[in-house]
Amino acid sequence: MAGTGFCHQPALEEPGMFIGAADLQEQRTIDTDICIIGCGAAGIAIARSFLGTKTRVAIIEGGGFEYDAESQDIYKGSNSGLPYPPLDVTRLRYFGGSTNHWEGQVRPFSAADFETHEWLPNSGWPIKLPDIEPYYEQAFNICMFGSGTYQWERDYWLRQLGIAHFLPDERIFELEFFQCMRRVQPSWQSFGTYVRDALDKSENISVYLDLNVIELNTSEQGDAVSSVSLVSKSGKHLALRARTFVLATGGIENARLLLVSNTTVKEGIGNRNGLVGRFFCDHPVGHAGRLVTTERTPIDKAFAWHTTASGSCYTAQLSPSFAFRKKHRLANCCVRLLPAPLPHSAGSAAAKHIVEALRRGEWPDNLLSEIGTVITDLDALVERQYHKLRHTRPEYFTVWTRVEPVPNYDSRVALTDERDRFGKPRVALNWKVTDLTQHTMNRLANTFATEVGRLRIGRVQIDPGLENDWENHFHVGNHHMCTTRMAEDERNGVVDADCKVFSMDNLYIAGSSVFSTAGSGTPTLTLVALALRLADHLKGLHV
């Protein structure tokens, strides 16, 4: 930290507590063993692993305990690519990070998600499922806050549901289950709430709040991080030195912080090959159509959310089998069924007549001819009344799909000329998806529709937007991935198999930015498992 004029003070005079920036002296330098930047799911998982150890850990969190508009403003950015939620909406910048508004749905990646597939450009991780598998159960317990059962076998969940057979053609579709704790304990959904007590009581971990890392400073050779520059909300400047640094500021911000750290390394840290921020992706999520069912099947049961005795929830999804994807050269993807929300209907004389009959518990004889005279949304009104009165299940479902975004070099996070309140360039997003991603969603919808017919469950109407107006048709999962992807070597990625930035001695990255590929599932369970694996690696370095 040559020439900064910072006074060196002993580190962590009061270790094991939350420290607000207001309590810190201007121009102070904090010393610690491991510095974790960002207190979201990834940062928290690593810090937790060090609870009760002799290693001193400092977590630097830009926000406080509550949402704060000034902190959130730093997340603003532009988007020149596909429609995307505003960058200060798709993530949260305070203690607990984006888990303050996440859904909490989890499922591990499959073995195939880590493999290289010749039909999927840029596929393949340098690690495989067995490398991360030992960490999944612990990650699950963290993500589910101790609820749920670490169990992914289809038959186990079918037994829970009392479904003897639900038999999509296994050569085509696999039935899988997702778990979630959110619906049980909404107030617990933030990782921050979950770990706050443990961190507060810790003797070796300090959490600095309202303190923003604005740059990573490197050695003169640019091969190690020597310190980080910090600014408080009120404008106080500080610094922190550590033996090891872990960047855990989320899938977009991890790339941004590397890029803005360009005082010594002009192109930005870890960016010798111009890959930082490249391959940005999110999961396209789309309403692919609707399913009309003809008779009772176990389908509505499997695809509803169910609660377990331990308080968690689970639901089913169908994913094309690996053999099917290989044969048809598709990305990973999945389909779920949601009870379709019924639109509000306009009233009319005919509608009233029908509804009154239904209220009397009758299904009027002339219903079908009356229906023919009224508009489609009236149809929905009648349907709703009928179900209310007869207590029957809905007869149609939204066909919901999520697709693995194929890694795309041209899809990226870069910097704009516009600056945030600390004078640092804001983020410019340019999100692009490849044709293969779109093709996968279309193929999935059509295959599902055909399978539904074969199983005599009903018929599917595919949404025309899927074909004609795809780019405006899908939404996203708010899963920011692959901007500092893991690779075998520096020519293909930003971090190595240990999540260490290539060419840097002591800088690691945690979060879904290190994903080499995105899979079709949700990211947080896997990013937490990777963070736990990283924590183990760091423990080896810090004993």
Partner: protein, 134 residues
């Protein structure tokens, strides 16, 4: 283009389920007429037949080369051997359902206004549509 509503789809799907309970119709001798009669028997209730015909119209618009009775009858020849005199409609309905399953099994499907239908059922609807206009 008039879009098919979910109600119309439900009505027609209900038609399939109900087909087995439809009373028998007049016996017809010529194979071509047998196919037409069989299709009408499958959709005996006027409202289900009307819905099926509506879907059929859409099918024929997107498949103009099948927009004539002869072609459709040829394509549906599996119904020509059906013995209207002897057979009961439930047998016909089973035969029809089997064909539909086979179509889905072999992905012999068509997209009619977004609905993914078996080729056989779309053709039956097409035939019903042509009968309505006769």
């Amino acid at each position: 283009m008039k879009h098919l509503t979910r109600r119309q789809a439900l009505v027609y799907l209900g038609g399939i389920a109900a087909a087995g309970f439809t009373p028998a119709a007049t016996v017809q001798a010529a194979p071509s007429q047998t196919v037409v009669t069989a299709a009408m028997k499958l959709f005996a209730r006027p409202e289900t037949r009307a819905s099926a015909a509506l879907i059929g119209q859409t099918y024929l618009r997107s498949h103009p080369c099948e927009n004539n009775t002869e072609t459709l009858i040829r394509a549906l020849d599996f119904m020509a051997g059906y013995d209207l005199e002897q057979g009961d409609t439930a047998v016909l309905a089973r035969l029809y359902a089997q064909r539909i399953s086979q179509d889905f099994e072999s992905a012999d499907v068509v997209n009619v206004d977004g609905w993914i239908l078996s080729k056989t059922e779309a053709r039956v609807f097409g035939l019903l549509a042509l009968q309505q206009t006769v």
